[in-house]
Each structure stands twice: as C-alpha cells, then as structure tokens.
C-alpha cells in the first residue's frame, strides 16, 4: 500500500507486563520518528472543480 513496514507493528502485551509495554512503545515511537511523517494515504481537501 505504500506504508513502510515499520510504521505498523503488532505486539501482544499483557496488562501485567508494564515494562514490556514501555519498551514496545519506546521502540515503535523511535522507529516511526526515524521514518518521519507519513506521506501516503493522507487526505487533503477536495479540489474545486
């Protein structure tokens, strides 16, 4: 679809795994910051015909 693979990540975190949660969130945010803002599939206002 033109979305970089790192932009979408899945993990399984139990409610008891606080450290893992923090770790996952940090990881994901870092990966996405590296990628920069998403450019594809972003909607803009319709053009006036």
């Amino acid at each position: 679809m033109g979305i970089e693979p790192d932009r979408l990540q899945f993990s399984w975190v139990s409610s008891a795994e606080a450290t893992k949660f923090v770790q996952v969130v940090t990881e994901v945010t870092r990966a996405i910051k590296d990628l920069g803002p998403n450019k594809n599939l972003v909607k803009t206002m319709p053009k006036v015909a």
């Binding site: 679809m1 033109g2 979305i3 970089e4 693979p5 899945f10 993990s11 399984w12 450019k39 594809n40 599939l41 972003v42 909607k43 803009t44 319709p46």
Partner: protein
C-alpha cells in the same frame, strides 16, 4: 466446452420436472458479442434459453446469497469454490443446492480481444479451440488459449470442487503455473514506488463498485463504503478515498477470494484490482497453506488459531 449445453439442458429439465429445485441458474445468450447474461429457468420451457460457451465468466454464486428456495446452479471451478465459501459462511445451505458442475477450460477476455482490433467487433464465432472475430473489414481466428482472462490462464482449479451432477468429463488441471509473478513484481517495489504504482492503477476508477457487486464475497447488507454513520471513507473522487475502498475491500476478501476474476471482468474502465486480492491469496497460501473454498468442513485461517502461527508476537 460447447458440447456441454445438451447435458446442461437435460439435467436442468430433469431437476425442474422432478421438482428437486425451484429454479436453475445458468446463462442465456447476450445481446452484444462476447457477453452472456445470468438467467434463471423456473420451468422446463425456460431452459431452452440456456447457453454455454467461453463468455460465461460471471460468477453465478453471486446469485445465491440469502436465497431461501431450492436451486440448481451451474458451477465452474471458481464458482464451486465460492459456493463452498458461501456454505461455510452460512449464506446458503448445502441441502438447498443441486450443484451442476461444469469442468472449465477458461473464459475469454473480452477486453483483451477488443483491444486487438481497431474497429468495432461485430461477431465472435466460437468452436472448441478457436474463436473467429469478425468486424467491418477484418476477420481473424485466434486460439482461445491466447486470449483467456488472466485469472483463467493461471487457474489451478478448473474442475468443480463440489458437485452433484457433471455436464462433461473432468478436464486436465494446469500444473506448474506461476500464479504470482505480478504480485512478486509489486512486492519488490519500495514503499513509495508502491504508492505511486497503486495510484496510477486506480486513477481511472469511477467508484461504480461493479467490482464489489460482482463478487460473491461482498454480500454485506451495508458495505463499509456506503456506511454513513460513521463514515469510514469519503464518497468523492479523492484518490485516498478511492484507494482506501480498494485496500479495505481486498482485506475483507482475504482467505476467501477464489480469483474467479468476476471483479476485474466487470470493471467498466478495465482496472485490474485483482492484484490486491491476489497478494492476500499468496500470503494465505504461504503463511497458512490455505486455498479458499476447497472444503466446506475446514474453517478458514482468519477465524482459527493454530499454535504454528507464523507471527512471532502472538505465540
């Protein structure tokens, strides 16, 4: 394949006379070249109109959804697989159906053939292996094999997987077909290239939804694209909305699509949106060894969990 018609009529008349079904769903001759129209017969006399040739590409399973009566239905390989999917998904009951299996050698690609000629095609005459295309100032005989719909050319389930009657001998299945050449090409592109590729592919789309409506899988009472509360996708011609429709629809067909080609065939502007469903078909095959619609007793991969799931995070 042309010889099937006598058997088709004979079976249909028998089923109707014996009151085993209330209607038989088949095709009647179309009003323009290379087109047939899905048609039902409710009495033995109606059966006279039935035809069978290489223009029966529409997926008849689409006409079964939520019907209550007993139905006889003609089913090519792909149709039969969609019928299996319909049974799994409770859209029709097995015992309502008499499946009249039609071993298939592929349907011809109307668009491809039209594009081969400058003028308008006036008539297409078919025999067992060839078609003869006639128009104002031209006449040409083509081998059917060379002008098949792309999905038919790479089909590996030409024989119906489920049937109560058969209209002819089973045909030889194609082996050693590379089903995913086009998908691999797209997979190899970088994300930005993919985005551009899809944007170009979908640019002519007029959002008529013929692709969705021709598909037996798309039977939701209200499709997410039509939903207005909440509104998931904009309804205009914005490219993001258009691609969102196509991507999401493809995902809704994951693990269910049989690559029958009805969607591509019905698109008025000739978009090959099958690349999306084929990618998911390939993933299902590679990740879950799954092909849709082969067995009514096996649950599909998207509603089962197996310990061997390929994704690490879920184990």
């Amino acid at each position: 394949m042309l010889s099937y018609i006598d058997k088709i009529k004979e079976i249909s008349i028998r089923l109707l006379k014996e009151c085993r079904v209330e209607m038989v769903i088949g095709f009647r001759k179309g009003t323009v070249p290379m087109m047939n129209e899905p048609h039902f017969a409710k009495s033995p006399e109606d059966v006279e109109n039935f035809v069978w040739d290489s223009n029966c590409g529409i997926n008849l399973c689409n006409y079964l959804t939520n019907r209550g009566e007993k139905i006889g239905i003609l089913a090519k390989g792909c149709d039969s697989r969609n019928i299996v999917t319909h049974i799994i998904e409770n859209k029709i009951k097995r015992d309502q159906l008499v499946i009249i299996g039609v071993p298939c050698k592929g349907m011809i690609d109307k668009r491809k053939i039209s594009a081969m000629f400058e003028g308008e095609i006036g008539e297409v005459i078919e025999n067992e292996n060839n078609i003869t295309v006639k128009g104002d100032g031209f006449e040409k005989t083509l081998n059917k094999k060379d002008v098949l719909q792309q999905n038919c050319a790479i089909c590996i389930h030409r024989n119906p997987v489920i049937h109560d009657e058969l209209v002819g001998d089973l045909v030889e299945e194609q082996i050693d077909v590379d089903r995913y050449e086009d998908v691999r090409e797209i997979e190899a592109l970088a994300p930005q290239e993919k985005a551009t590729h899809f944007e170009k592919l979908l640019e002519p789309c007029i959002r008529c939804y013929a692709c969705r409506n021709a598909c037996p899988l798309c039977y939701c009472p209200t499709c997410f694209t039509d939903e207005s509360r909440p509104q998931w996708v904009g309804k205009g011609q914005d490219p993001t909305d258009v691609s969102t429709f196509h991507f999401l629809r493809a995902y809704h067909c994951a693990g269910r699509c049989t690559d029958c080609g009805a969607c591509e065939r019905s698109c008025p502007v000739g978009i090959n949106m099958r690349v999306f469903t084929k990618k998911l078909e390939k993933d299902c095959l590679e990740l879950f060894e799954w092909e849709a619609g082969l067995d009514p007793d096996v649950r599909p991969p998207l509603d089962t969990y197996r310990p061997g799931d390929p994704d690490e995070f879920i184990k």
